[in-house]
Amino acid sequence: MSLRIVVCVKYVPDATGDRQFTEDLTVNRDDVDGLLSELDEYAVEQALQIADEADDAEITVLTVGPEDAKDALRKALSMGADKAIHVEDDDLHGSDVMGTSLVLAKAIEKAGYDLVITGMASTDGTMGVLPAILAERLGVPQVTLLSEVKVEDGVVTGRRDGDSASEQLEASLPALVSVTDQSGEARYPSFKGIMAAKKKPVQSWDLEELEIESDEVGLEGSWTAVDSATQRPARTAGTIVKDEGEGGKSLAAFLAEQKFI
């Protein structure tokens, strides 16, 4: 029986760009290039490795986002995923993690799955709570923050490296897995992969298809409200000295003056 894997990916503004908020305090996506969140590449990679080990597996990549978000799906398809689902709807603008997770959960259920894989966090919001929320919404075990993952005979096992301990985890499918950037370098799409991706199916769904009311998502439906966003004042220029043999001592004098010593 085929192993159905759904990988959730996010299209995020490039962190090296000058990221800003718009007037409604949502992320300004116009002035900064977007890309597949780097941390989600690890999720795609692990899906590909799990699929390689399985007798028969199918990888669907799923994203929720504006038109441009298709770029994130294409990248994942060119890495080797089989098909893609893009959930796009004007009413989704400004959705917070609760709204977005609701959409993802409905889409995952509609697509059908045995295993859901996500990155550990997005590189824009960096909350890191979506995997746990999705597991709660789907009612499946969460096997999260894995640096190693394996699926065999309907059981997922993995290693979670926490602050105080390293844990081995085990759960039966269906389950949700999130992987860290320690899980294994993500592959670069090959030329062949990029060409093949152009022919792979990308389905588009909207809120109606997922039976979600528009007031459950978007800025209006958000569970949280941002009241203000202010740019941090640029740090006042600090003292910079060139080491000519006394650099360590002068730094120690600064630290003493600041009462750190």
């Binding site: 709570v129 969460q142 985890l169 569970w223 949280t224 966003a229 000295v241 001592k249 750190f260």
Partner: protein, 320 residues
């Protein structure tokens, strides 16, 4: 007075500092009721009371250690139902955020993570957060349900505020999902004797410029002279010079110490995302053009192999 539920992070009864900081923040909103789970939960009561907990709810069961996250969510939900708080505060650890997130879904509430400050507002608690590699500061509220907020370490002072700290056993019923993810083995991390990276008042980090695992002892010696935690940039971790658990940055840990010392770190945006909220920033780097120097209060352009040992010696000399 309104009650605020505070999730306690403790190790066998020893309460970790971020929880005491949460109690300070909780008192700005109402009366803190603490929830301590697992072995040693009752032993936390005295210190929690000293810092303002009017009540300490405790529960212990093998499920808390044998299965991942969900049993703790079941307990937090039981405490929520028992207390009907005006807000739920949880430390922003990886596990803390997962517990808070699942509770928020269950009680139909919004969630705010990684708050760096919290104050009472007319429409409920207002949380300050750092966004876009800390280049922006936002103020947010939970607009649906009871606010569930996770707070980063070093976001508030630890203050004594003696309260009753009455201990009450909490009855917890585990749901079907509680046993979904089994912890089949656990290997404790070896203690370095240094403070926890995310909680430390001073962090000393090394990067690409350290040029090898065998040189990290220079960074460690400086850290030890200051009683600091050791951090590493992604470049140093990817090269295998230092453990991933010490990585500071977007894909590692986010730190907010009183003093951050970066050695041989150029300051890529991903690293800045993890340390830019540090109060005082100091850097040592050979390259005068390194972006880290845009952030520093004090910078030394020079070879870290000369500057860092001299700094360490000077600190030791000054400390006598």
């Amino acid at each position: 007075m309104a009650e605020v539920l505070v999730y306690v992070d403790h190790v066998d009864g020893a309460v970790r500092k971020p929880t005491l900081e949460l109690l300070t923040l909780a008192r700005r909103i109402g009366e803190p009721v603490a929830l301590a789970l697992g072995a040693g939960a009752e032993a936390t009561a005295a210190v929690l009371a000293e810092h303002g907990a009017v009540k300490v709810l405790t529960a212990d069961a093998s499920e808390f250690s044998d299965y991942l996250v969900v049993p703790k969510v079941d307990a937090l939900q039981a405490a929520y139902d028992a207390v009907s708080p005006v807000a739920v505060l949880v430390p922003s650890s990886a596990e803390g955020k997962e517990i808070a997130a699942r509770l928020a879904v269950r009680i139909g509430s919004g969630i705010i993570t990684d708050a760096i400050d919290l104050e009472a507002g007319e429409e409920g608690p207002v949380a300050t957060q750092a966004a876009f590699a800390a280049s922006f500061t936002t103020k947010s509220r939970v607009s649906k349900g009871t606010p569930v907020i996770t707070v980063k370490p070093n976001s508030a002072p630890v203050e004594a505020a003696p309260a009753a700290g009455v201990v009450e056993a909490l009855a917890v019923t585990f749901g079907a999902l509680a046993t979904g993810t089994k912890v089949t083995s656990r290997t404790p991390r070896e203690s370095t004797g240094r403070p926890e990276l995310t909680e430390a008042a001073i962090v000393v980090s090394g990067g690409r410029g350290v040029n090898g695992a065998e040189n990290f002892h220079i960074i460690e010696a400086l850290a030890d002279s200051l009683g600091a935690a050791v951090g590493a940039s992604r470049a140093a971790v990817d090269a295998g010079w230092y453990p991933h658990s010490n990585q500071v940055g977007q894909t590692g840990k986010s730190v907010s110490p009183q003093l951050y010392i970066a050695s041989g770190i150029s300051g890529a945006i991903q690293h800045r995302a993890g340390m830019q909220t540090s109060k005082t920033i100091v850097a040592i780097n050979k390259d005068a053009e390194a972006p880290i120097f845009d952030l520093v209060d004090y910078g030394v352009v020079g070879d870290l192999f000369a500057v860092v040992p001299q700094l360490t010696e000077e600190i030791k000399a000054r400390k006598g």
